[in-house]
């Protein structure tokens, strides 16, 4: 049913596209939130992703699962977003104020710490961890989303595990 909907949306049917957005907005937003651990930023990223979906839906060729394609799109949006953020304000720390108004702010802080560590591990590590650990994808699926081979994902997961098992990594996480 998704496919028919997507085809109609590709054909320029605004109504179908709106339906598609309704279906997938939650996935996009959830993933964006995990990416940055911050609600307002996640909303920003999600909006960017929706707009990008509008422009590039026609490029979707039904070769991969639509969700995989979507993840890739969200990741690239998130990365773009991060770049622009870095350019505008270099040293803005996570906005503690806005986090406290969320009931899950602890989760957010913890996640932000974990993600910062993962990002330090190297390119693609954060994405891999999110896809494999948080989204529960298989290594092959994650590889398809990130455009790398399955073994690369396996290696990254191994590296992440090794790093996260280290006392240093544990100690530097205040939360837990």
């Amino acid at each position: 049913m998704d496919e028919a909907l997507i085809r109609r949306a590709q054909g320029g049917d605004a109504k179908s596209f709106a339906e598609l957005l309704d279906l997938h907005y939650d996935t996009i937003y959830r993933f964006a939130w995990k990416w940055c651990g911050h609600q307002a930023n996640a909303e920003d990223i999600a909006q960017q992703a929706c707009m990008k979906l509008a422009t590039s839906l026609s490029q979707y060729r039904f070769q991969a699962a639509f969700t995989s394609w979507l993840y890739r799109l969200v990741i690239s949006c998130a990365q773009d977003w991060q770049r622009t953020q870095q350019r505008h304000d270099h040293d803005e720390l996570p906005d503690e104020e806005s986090m406290t108004d969320s009931p899950r702010h602890e989760d957010g802080i913890f996640l932000a710490q974990v993600l910062a560590q993962l990002a330090e591990l190297g390119e693609g590590m954060k994405e891999t961890a999110l896809l494999v650990h948080a989204e529960g994808m298989s290594h092959a699926e994650a590889g398809a989303v990130l455009g790398v081979s399955e073994s690369t994902i396996s290696w990254r997961v191994h590296t992440i595990r090794k790093h996260m098992g280290r006392p240093a990594a544990r100690a530097s996480l205040a939360y837990e």
């Binding site: 309704d22 907005y25 937003y29 995990k34 909006q47 969320s102 899950r104 974990v114 544990r170």
Partner: protein, 800 residues
């Protein structure tokens, strides 16, 4: 937080519900974007259809290799169709061009058989056509492809002036007219030409063959490279100088495109490739024949493709090798403090383990040779001292494998202080009495071992080692990289070629399969265990001990348990940049072996040939030394070096405590610097409140202290004791011993200076050079001369 809880927490973390307002905003924005895109696309489609700009853009689009994804599918479809049309036209042009080029040659070839048969039929009346075409005919046949390959043929023929008109006539469409012209000109010398052309052709063929033979053009076809054990080799081949990855010559692609689809790599010696560069351009003979061979897929026996490994190694050892930029300071050493000066009144007993390793000296030498002062922690003074062989009197029998030599001399760097040399030389097992050896070489073949001072040097070193083994000894080879595998089951040394072959086939970076490296090596050694013989594993590595057991302590424990079973481990270190000396030392100590650092083939020669006995055959295990100083005669003492070998006082009599081992013929030298009671130059002032030094126990007033050595015979688990007093007035010793005392003093001074010279007063490198020069002796292998050079280098080396 461990990895499990990390994963769980990542899963557990869930995003808060999205704000509906934000959701709505996003949706609206996306829909707007959607509308805009589709409206624009339609607009673009119409525009393309209408405006004059369209064809240009369309043409551009059509010539692109890929579809323009930014435009909408329906519009690009139309252009897609039209693009086929363009492609068709272009294709026709290309084909036409190709035919135009190939046509004249085809014509020629069709006439060849006719010409030949005619010539055979009547040699005397050979037609000019045939005579003119003769040079081309045989060559185009066997040497060139079945398909016509025009360029190499005429070029490689090039026998004389006839060549030019011939080529011209071949190129022109009206070949008949040209032939008539040629006929008229060469009427009188028709047969002669036929003959001379033939011989000229043969000559050129021979010449090209000879040129090939001389140049030793080694060929590897692309297929060979793909079969090479690793991509690394292919890559290194391409980087190494003197290796040319030859695709068909760039100037002739359009003509040879059809026939030359096989790529080939031509490997020559580095020097030769330069020498040949010019001839390649000028004389087309070698190249012509090579491309000819490519086309026909016939490989002449004169240039058999050598196995790719040889080539790879040659590339590495070639003169053109550019040393990699060393990453300095990543080598890891155990940190330690220099032994302090101790008060005899507080701590009269000093205990330490023997150390016969020499790795530190080699490493220091390497650093100094490259113009750098070594890291302080890489300098272990006792290893520097023990690098040299001293003339201490040897033991008489294997039962008491050594006897100590004690010499007291004045300290050259501390006025009023004395140096006490304690030298022991292990009993030297003669070659014939040496027990049989069961050696397993455990070689690191990971990609990091590829530089010439690593795996290639290790392989050469092992070849040297073979020369110092008995024919009945066995050698097995296990390698490890990502995984591990047995390369060679233990093979008797008399079967030398087999072992050499296995060694030479080792490639860095090649992945192997099987169990984990070190465990595999021990399994192999156990399976071929030699009772009463030497069972030893030689680990050659550049520092990455990814041998299967990851944790260092576990690895040590493993080595230790195997040692109890009688299998020992020695470590040979190679390379620089990532060397983990600390671990190599620890493993060798736990494995009752030596840790040597091989930086040059000369060092390999020293460790594995001259001192092979010492490296392989242990004559005493767990050698511990203990000195108790006499408080009546000695105020202070300091042990030079042996910081990493210190033992507790109670360890001396505890046979369960492991200590250093001494091999056949090893010399171990320890130097104490002592301050006699009554000397003006005490480091520490005497205590105001403590009582005077106690009077000497009767009969010991003439002694500085008492030396005890404990050791175990190789097959025993209980230790034996050697005791000897240290006399204030040394017994008479030979001139050679005194000379070597002076030399070892110089080495000790140098080591201490490199470590910062805390206790060496005003000692300078110049003093050391003078001392060492003075005490060089006959120095048959030049090691002491090298030491002097090293001190000279230290005077100009820069700080790290």
């Amino acid at each position: 937080m461990n990895e499990k809880s990390f994963e769980a927490s990542l899963k557990r973390v869930t995003a808060p519900a999205p704000d509906p307002a934000a959701r709505l905003r996003a949706k609206r924005a996306a829909l707007e974007e959607f509308e805009r895109v589709h409206a624009a696309n339609q607009g673009v489609a119409q525009e393309i259809a209408k405006t004059s700009d369209a064809p240009r853009k369309g043409l551009w689009n059509a010539l692109r290799l890929f579809r323009d994804d930014s435009s909408h599918g329906s519009t690009s479809m139309a252009w897609f169709v039209r693009r086929n049309l363009f492609a068709g036209v272009a294709g026709v042009c290309v084909v036409g061009l190709g035919i135009a080029m190939v046509w004249p040659v085809l014509l020629e070839r069709q006439q060849l058989p006719v010409a030949e048969s005619r010539q055979e039929a009547d040699d005397d009346r050979a037609a000019i056509v045939s005579s003119a075409l003769e040079p081309v005919a045989p060559e185009a046949g066997p040497a060139v492809a079945p398909a016509p390959a025009p360029t190499p043929a005429p070029q490689s023929a090039a026998p004389g002036p006839e060549q030019k008109p011939l080529a011209a006539s071949a190129a022109r469409p009206d070949a008949a007219a040209a032939r008539a012209e040629a006929q008229a000109r060469e009427q009188d010398k028709r047969v002669e030409i036929s003959e001379s052309a033939k011989s000229a052709y043969r000559e050129s063929l021979e010449k090209s063959l000879a040129a090939k033979r001389e140049a030793e053009v080694e060929k590897i076809i692309a297929a060979d490279i793909s079969q090479a054990p690793d991509k690394n080799i292919a890559e290194s081949l391409q980087r190494a100088d003197g290796v040319v990855a030859a695709t068909p010559p760039a100037s002739q692609p359009s003509k040879q495109a059809e026939s030359n689809s096989v790529e080939e790599v031509i490997v020559t010696g580095a020097r030769r490739s330069r020498a040949q560069a010019t001839p390649h351009k000028g004389a087309a003979a070698p190249r012509g024949s090579i491309s000819g061979r490519v086309a026909s897929n016939v490989y002449t026996p004169s240039a058999p493709p050598p196995p790719p490994p040889q080539v790879a190694l040659r590339g590495f050892t070639g003169e053109q090798y550019v040393a990699p930029i060393p990453d300095e300071g990543r080598d890891k050493f155990q940190q330690f403090e220099v032994n302090p000066v101790k008060q005899v009144a507080d701590e009269p007993v000093s205990t330490f383990s023997a150390d016969v390793d020499t790795a530190s000296y080699s490493f220091v030498r390497r650093q100094l040779t490259s113009g750098r002062l070594p890291q302080k922690d890489s300098v272990r003074v006792e290893e520097m001292i023990n690098y040299f062989d001293y003339a201490w009197p040897a033991a008489k029998s294997a039962k008491t494998p050594f006897r100590p030599t004690v010499v007291v001399s004045d300290s050259p760097w501390g006025k009023g202080r004395k140096l006490v040399h304690i030298g022991i030389k292990g009993y030297e097992i003669s070659r014939d009495d040496a027990p049989g050896a069961n050696l397993v070489l455990l070689l690191d073949v990971s990609g990091s071992m590829s530089s010439p001072d690593k795996l290639p040097l290790a392989v050469q070193s092992m070849e040297l080692l073979l020369s110092s083994l008995k024919p009945t000894d066995t050698v097995g080879i296990v390698v490890y990289a990502g995984a591990a595998g047995t390369v060679l089951e233990p093979t008797p040394v008399r079967n030398k070629q087999k072992i050499l072959g296995a060694l030479r086939d080792l490639r860095p970076g090649g992945s192997t399969a099987g169990a984990e490296g070190i465990e595999r090596a021990y399994q192999l050694a156990e399976a071929h265990f030699r009772k009463g013989g030497v069972n030893r594993i030689l680990l050659a590595t550049d520092g990455d001990f990814n041998v299967g057991i990851a944790s260092t302590n576990e690895l040590k424990g493993f080595v230790e348990r195997k040692r109890v079973k009688g299998i020992f481990l020695s470590v040979l270190g190679f390379g620089q940049g990532n060397y983990r000396d600390e671990l190599a030392q620890a493993l060798a100590q736990n494995g009752n072996g030596v840790a040597a650092y091989i930086d040059t083939l000369g060092e390999a020669q020293k460790v594995l040939v001259q001192e092979a006995g010492a490296s392989l055959f242990t004559i005493a295990k767990d050698v511990k030394l203990q000195v108790e100083f006499n408080p009546a005669t000695v105020a202070e003492y300091r042990l030079v070096g042996y910081e990493t070998r210190a033992l507790r006082r109670e360890d001396f009599n505890n046979d369960a405590v492991d200590a250093g081992d001494v091999g056949s013929g090893h010399t171990v030298t320890a130097i104490y610097e002592i301050t006699p009671v009554g000397s003006e130059t005490r480091m520490v002032d005497p205590s105001r409140y403590a009582k005077e030094p106690p009077p000497a126990v009767s009969g010991t007033a003439g002694e500085y202290g008492f030396l005890k050595i404990r050791y175990k015979l190789p097959d025993s688990d209980t230790s034996q004791l050697i005791e000897q007093p240290i006399q204030i007035v040394s017994r008479e010793v030979s001139e050679n011993v005194l000379r070597d005392v002076r030399f070892s003093t110089a080495v000790a001074g140098f080591g201490q200076l490199l470590r910062g010279g805390t206790f060496t007063g005003t000692l300078k490198y110049e003093d050391i050079i003078r001392q060492a020069q003075d005490a060089k002796g006959d120095d048959p292998f030049g090691y002491r001369t090298e030491f002097v050079q090293l001190v000279r280098k230290a005077t100009v080396a820069r700080e790290m």
